[in-house]
Every structure is written in C-alpha cells, then in structure tokens.
Subunit: 230 residues, 2 copies
DNA sequence: TTTTTTTGTGACAAAATTATTACGGCAACG
DNA sequence: CGTTGCCGTAATAATTTTGTCACAAAAAAA
C-alpha cells in the first residue's frame, strides 16, 4: 500500500512536476492549491506526508505547518517544506515551526524522494515497545519475537501483528471487520474471511505449546483472546 | 541501548519540542523543569548528555553547568546549552559556562541532533571505544579490528561500522531505514536495499568463523543481532 | 432429522520480500 | 595511466508471505 502525499502548492507548474515525480515513485498523490483546501482534505483523510510550499496565497506554509503540528490528531503527520534557494533563516524557521525537513527549489527528483522516505521512516514507527504477556507466552515487540519459556515460536508478520493485537486487547470480542481495521489497516481491500485463515495460521503457530485455545471463536460475532476456557 | 538525554527546560512548549525531536532520533529522554530537579535525577542515574536552557527559574543554566563540571562524578557528562539568539550569545560562545556546545533558538532538528551526536562522539570516547564482544568475537574500535580467538577477520569500513552497531545494539530489531540512519548517517541518500547487500557482505566476512548466524533476518521488519538461534 | 448458516482447513497462484551476484563509478595509490 | 579496493545500485534468483477459493466440518435453525 503506497502512502499518500498531500501536495500544497499554488504554482501549477511546480505542482505538476512534484506530482509527476512522486507518481513515478509509487506514491499516491492529492493536490491542492492552498492551505484552506488542504485543511478540507485533512478532514476527510490523513495523508502519509504533507509537502507544502513556504510561500502560499492566503495562509503561509509556515502557519499551515504550525496548525498541523499543534493539532493533536494531525501532529504525527510528517511535513516537508519547499523553500526557494537562499535565506538560511527561512530554513530554520521552517523547521522550527514544526516541519520535519525542507527541500530547496530547484531540487532533484532523487533528493526529494530520498528526503520523503527518510522523514517517513523516522516518524512513522510509533509502536509500543512493551512486552505483552499471556500466561507463559511472551511477545517482545523490540526483538520482534514470541516465546514460551524461552522457546521461540515461528510465525509470519501478519500473524505476529494479529497476536500482538489480541494480547494487548484481551477478553474483548472483535468482529472480523474490526480486526481488519486494526491489523491490516483501515483501508485495505481484504475479504473478511481472510481473518479466519490468519486466525487458523496463528493457532497453528501456537499449537506446539498448547496456546492455540487462547484465540476463541465467538460464533456470529468474531474472535476473542481469553484466558478462560470456552 | 540508546543514550539517555536529560532535558532541563522550563518552557513546556520548547521542552515538548525537544523531547519530540529527540525521541524521533532514537534517544531516551528524561525531562525536568529546573536545575534542582535535574540534580535530583542525577543522584539516581547519569544521563548520556544534558541539554539545558540558558535561562531557568532558580539556578541559571550556567551555574548548573558549572556545578556539573565541578563535581568529579559528573564532570564527564557532556552538556549542551540552549540559548535564544542574541541572548548573551557571545558570552556563551566564549565557553565560560562550562558547556561543551551550545545551540541557539530557533534551531533545526537536524542541527540539534547533529550537535548532540558530535559532542557525544567527542566527549564519550571511552564508551564507543570500548571493545565490543559477542561470544568469542571481539571488535576493537581503537585498532579497528575484528577477531575471533586472535585470528583477525577481514572486512571493509562499512561492514565494520555495521557490525559495530549490531554488537552494541544486540537483541533489538532494526529496520533498514534505522540502520541507514545509524550506520550510514541520518541524511544519506542511500537505497534501503543497500543494507541487504552489506548484511550479506558482513555475513560472508563472519562466515569463516561460523558467526554468520548472529545477524538474523526478521522478515517484514529488518535485521537483528542475537545470540539465540532463530 | 433436515436444512441453513457459519467456521475450519488445505491448497494454490500471485505478490512481496530477501538473498545473491554482477557491474560501473570513483577515489587512493603506486 | 593502470590497479586496487570500496561503494552503491540494479538485475536476477530464491524464498516467504498473502489473500482467496473450494470444500469439509460444525453449529444453529427449521
């Protein structure tokens, strides 16, 4: 799933260039001309990153970035500011206002993409690092390992995420749709029955240590992670 | 283990900004509002670096820094001072305050992190110059040599840096992006796939002594250095 | 009991990820 | 100059993971 990038740029030529470069690099694009339209878009959906020009008609890029970073629901969205060459002061202020990086015009496509990737990988990982437990079962997000009494369990990435979710949300029933939202991500086009298959795979991975009963089926509703027997 | 940074800053906005930036860059954070609380914290545990504001309620940042440097048990802790532009800048620059470096507000995240890393490299040599071990494997940063039972292993500079990072950050999974940040530097324009190639080269170098299994692949996440078998 | 609905299971092809190899560029050095 | 060693990338091979389907099994409803 390609991350979406919101481009806020009033100059059509630059905007199209940006869109072109980013599309070439498999990013999804949303384009707007000013800060006001950008805020409209943000109400609908949060992009993976915002690319905003320093100079904009109406609200400036700096003020826009400030607003984004000040708002709790959007503060985690990375922002890269586009600035004209010159003025070191501008760069500093651009960063100080909350932008995570800047790119000076003219820029090379390579640099732009590199900076976007760098910022995203630094800002995206926001996961909890706490070890989750369920009886003797330990899930360590830092090591990315699951173990029972020191013995490691083997499983794929999705099974790991699913188990992590269950272990951190025990005793409560979740529908297949909810599990898709949490584990697969809110806008993934995946069949609900796929959840069944992964629950099965997870149970198989847990089976060797008799922990397969921890994921219980709640008929007509979904699944639950529980210590109590069915 | 990431170094801990003690932030001494009374302005909540600046404090949060600092904490935010540093957390993004893999530092552990302790935050306090004034010099007195900072001294309390120092009794419990020594941080890897202290970031202190020039202006503080109660004891000033300068006096605080002087105290830290005067005390034998804390004199080795690097101190970076935060100053506002124009705020007795020359005096601070004159190094009379005992700090090892200073950063003027407004600052860019890049500059802040760069200075922190620079100061830590400069002032905490005994830390990064310590011989790292992994079983029989020894890595000597001073001699720039890797050996097993006295036999030297041959490898290039990048493989060496990568191995050094892994040996000093065992058991934790790192994404390719994080490895690029740490080993190649925060703003290098290098493809993530390059990490794969260097892991391969490193494994090949370690292969002759059967240490190639120490770098483990964590599918969908990255790599990990671990003594435990997969 | 029979029918209907829901869930479990194994297999499979497509997609994604990682391993491995090869190559051109570049700087240091003779 | 040519050589050498290292760097980063690209191409390709090997491997794992992913999502879906068809069908079996189980549970609920009729």
């Amino acid at each position: 799933m390609a991350p979406t990038i919101l481009i806020v740029e009033d100059d059509p030529a630059v905007r199209e260039l940006l869109a072109f470069i980013l599309k070439q690099n498999n990013f999804e694009i949303t384009e707007v001309e000013d800060a006001e339209s950008a805020q409209q878009k943000l109400l609908q959906k949060h992009p993976g990153l915002i690319l905003v020009d320093w100079m904009l008609p109406g609200m400036s890029g700096v003020d826009f970035a400030k607003q984004i970073k000040a708002n709790k629901s959007t503060t985690d969205i990375p922002i890269i500011m586009l600035t004209a060459r010159g003025e070191e002061e501008d760069k500093v202020r651009g960063l100080e206002c909350g932008a995570d990086d800047y790119v000076t015009k003219p820029f090379s496509p390579r640099e732009l993409v590199a900076r976007i990737r760098a910022v995203m990988r630094r800002l995206v990982p926001h996961k909890s690092d706490e070890v989750a437990t369920f009886g003797d079962l330990l899930l360590d997000p830092v090591r990315h390992q699951v173990s029972v009494a020191g013995k490691l369990l083997q499983m794929g990435p999705t099974e790991f995420k699913l188990l992590h979710f269950f272990m951190t949300h025990q005793e409560r029933v979740y529908s297949r749709g909810q599990l898709l939202d949490w584990v697969w991500g809110a806008n993934s086009f995946v069949e609900e029955r796929t959840v069944d298959v992964y629950v099965r795979r997870l149970r198989t991975a847990l089976e060797v240590h008799s922990y397969d009963a921890m994921i219980q089926t709640v008929r007509g509703v979904g699944y639950r992670c529980s210590a109590e027997a069915q």
